[in-house]
Symmetry: C2
Subunit: 200 residues, 2 copies
């Protein structure tokens, strides 16, 4: 759990990194933004890299919490679980856009040690959808021949929502979640007319 002070630093850092990118961001500006002295910031995070890692891990925490909350609402039917997983992802992309953007653009700025820690956390998260798909395939509910590509495609599709979603626009997150759950299930349950068999 983050302390209230850490939360302030993480939010100030995220704001600055999203605005200027990691390379061009200044730890001094982040301290100003957070309303603290540079040394107070250095007391909690030993450098800009350390703060970047904390921000990214906080993003993963948020993502995990949102997905797990949606999955907790449903039983163990793989179709329902895909709907819940997609909904969690849509909530993350629409309600926490800056966390999502950090993950999309700044992970590559992690140094090896941080990259390893981050990758470990992400791997655990990716297991969530992999397990749902594996169970659906084992039960014959998901008929796709390409479960790995489906998994990657679903993750890519929902991530891309961040590129066009506009909180002031006409699209309601619940409706988006419905549509992307439908699309995800179209990938997982194709039919002879719906692509996989259709090699005209």
């Amino acid at each position: 759990m983050l302390s209230p002070k850490q939360r302030v630093f993480i939010e100030a850092g995220r704001k600055e990194f999203v605005r200027n990118g990691y390379g061009s961001s200044s730890i001094r500006t982040i301290a100003q933004e957070a309303g603290v002295s540079l040394s107070a910031l250095y007391y909690h995070y030993k450098n800009k890299q350390d703060l970047l890692l904390a921000i990214l891990l906080d993003g993963v925490d948020t993502y995990d919490a949102v997905c797990n909350a949606e999955l907790a609402r449903v039983g163990d039917d793989p179709v329902e679980q895909i709907r819940a997983f997609v909904k969690g992802n849509v909530i993350f992309r629409t309600q926490f856009p800056e966390q999502g953007r950090m993950i999309a653009t700044e992970v590559r700025n992690l140094e090896p040690e941080g990259a390893r820690l981050y990758e470990e956390r992400r791997r655990a998260g990716r297991r969530r959808i992999r397990d749902i798909i594996d169970r659906g395939v084992a039960q014959g509910v998901f008929t796709t021949k390409y479960p790995d590509d489906c998994r990657r495609s679903i993750l890519a599709m929902v991530s891309a929502i961040a590129n066009w979603y506009d909180p002031a626009g006409p699209d309601d997150p619940d409706e988006i979640a419905e549509r992307y759950a439908d699309l995800s299930l179209a990938l997982l349950c194709p039919t002879i007319t719906g692509g996989e068999g259709d090699r005209r």
Copy 2:
């Protein structure tokens, strides 16, 4: 068309930007990498920003060339065109990974004037898949209720190939293109059992 000299600068710049990110990249290192003096580089590109724009537009040129070449091989059947479009995208992501990475991560570093020029070019490119999908929907070949989400999803799915594709790995680009064309058509032609109608 780029002159051979411009091509050298663009490749040196791309290498440095991919390695360090735009913010942390140095125009001096790029000149060294290109084997020219800083003033020779400045003769062609007035600053780092100008070079970034040239690199991104070169990436779009490559993308357009690859997609158009694939589309030129097929007639006007929307299913064939989706297969060709996806194949062009897979070729771009697997054969030109650095161009793809630049587009994925550095567009946000364009200043307003460059961003406007770049966006104009991209908009023209996006029209390509939009037109194919519109025609397929009009002909009743594509039965999706969500053509816009399909378009965005297909673009996201094929872009994400760059995240896992390994030229030394077992996956052959032609096979990947087949799989992602199948998946794209599964999105565009869903059936009652395949997602959209399946609201258990």
